[in-house]
């Protein structure tokens, strides 16, 4: 994550219990009910490196169809848009190179 700055902007729901997890080894406080995609994109502008060329990806359809948002959670591949965050989750977005 060379760039700082979030892509997604929260517009409501701030009064939820926090969930502690890690993104690429860094401790992050998310909110209960966040998807993994929301956790990453409210902190960063992108989700993963594109594995077939230059550039980055940050999901596209957000409804489990386009398969653009695969990341690793606790060493298992998941769709970030359809996986809810949980305490102590280890999220890794650095899997592009090994597809």
């Amino acid at each position: 994550m060379a760039d700082s700055g979030a892509q997604l902007v929260r517009i409501a729901g701030a009064e939820r219990p926090p969930v502690r997890c890690r993104v690429n080894g860094q401790a992050i406080s998310a909110l209960a009910g966040d998807t993994v995609l929301t956790v990453v994109l409210t902190q960063a502008p992108r989700l993963r490196k594109f594995e077939f060329g230059d550039g980055y990806r940050a999901g596209f359809c957000l409804m489990g169809a386009c398969q653009d948002c695969w990341v690793e959670v606790n060493n298992r591949r998941v769709r970030a848009c359809s996986t809810l965050v949980a305490d102590n989750m280890d999220i890794s977005t650095e899997i592009g190179a090994r597809a």
Partner: protein, 459 residues
Amino acid sequence: MLKIVIVGAGPAGVRAAERLVRAGHRPVVIDENVAAGGQIYRRPPAELHRDPKDLYGFEAERACKLHRTFDELAGSIDYRPSTSVWSAEGRRLDVIDRDGASHLLWDRLILATGAMDRVIPIPGWDMPGVFTLGGAQVSMKYQACAIGARPVFLGTGPLLYLIAYQYMKAGVDVAAVLDTAPLSGKVRAAPTMMAGGTALLKGLYYVARLVAAGVTIRSGITPVAIDASSGQRVGVVRYTTGEGKITTIACDAVGMGFGLRSETQLADLLDVQFDFDPSLRQWLPAVDAWGRSSVEGIYLAGDGMQLAGAQAAELSGARAAEAVLHDIGQYDARRIVRSLNRRIDRWLRFRDAMASRAFPFPHQLAQQCDDSLMICRCEGIAAGAMREAVRGQGQAEINRVKAFTRVGMGRCQGRVCQTAAAEITASAAGLDISMVSRLRGQAPIKPLPMAVFREEAAQ
């Protein structure tokens, strides 16, 4: 007991389940989401409390009624949330959920698999910060997040205005609504769109509110590109106005979509017959007046069958259940189905007015795109490679083009690229779009962790 399986828990799936339970059955309902409602009436996770009025606007009452109906069915159905069907053959469905892979057998199957945005790639569409219109809406409803602080909504169709309005109402600074459909078509379509009852008025209300809020709305535009600012982030949308003037607008996110595309991969795997719909420019499962497919025991409902919207989906979901009950000899449902069909037909007329006049699909955008434009975002395959397969290799059938170029072979199985891929193939071959055939699905229709295959092999 007869095993009836419903795939999908949106408006169609829920109403189908309701009727079957009322008739004494206990259907299995398979839902990819964590809670019923589908995409249109998607519910936030339990921890995120939102006022339904904020989430669903005018449709709040309808959404709450559907959710209530489903919640009341809880003890009477076999509900499988967070479950995907990844393959199907004969009377068997292969499913995967959090616990792993399994399969189930059905006697009657209702496919209510819904739809997603229909996408036309434009330069820059693969950048982070570009989402589908539906995605922009899911982000808002399901996660209470806007896709950016200053989004542009680009494409065509009623969703364009609805989503822009929802964002504006949530306090987001909407940079612009850019519609490829000209205003004149909407004016001409208006009388026919009365068939949708208040739907037209709601659309006009959204536009009026957006205008009142000072949001830029442009009709009849041609998108040119989404350009990056520094750091490979969305910075600008470039487009040509109806008068041919190149214009730019600064933004930090784009929601794009050009109407909807039915999710038909399961129906395809099960070998049901498809027909080409020339006004929607897509292949849809063929059904009779009861929602029966060409394969005995398989029924279709909702946007996965006909793209007539959420209210029609509730009706066709109910119809599929009535057809099942009729076919198994439980009772004569002819009168009920006739009455449901009268209401469904109104929505089909509304749909046709929208598709052919108000929001025509700008297929020329795909047909005339640059050779360098990335069409398959899964594997980064450009339009030029497809045209080369057509012109150089003499391939004019979409599945052959797929074999030569890998377009449609990636992780999404062509869900995103197939519309543009077919248009590009047809125009390069000089054929009508109906002549290039349709992209065939392959199991797994959704990617699976390799662990599933190991489990399968061990069985």
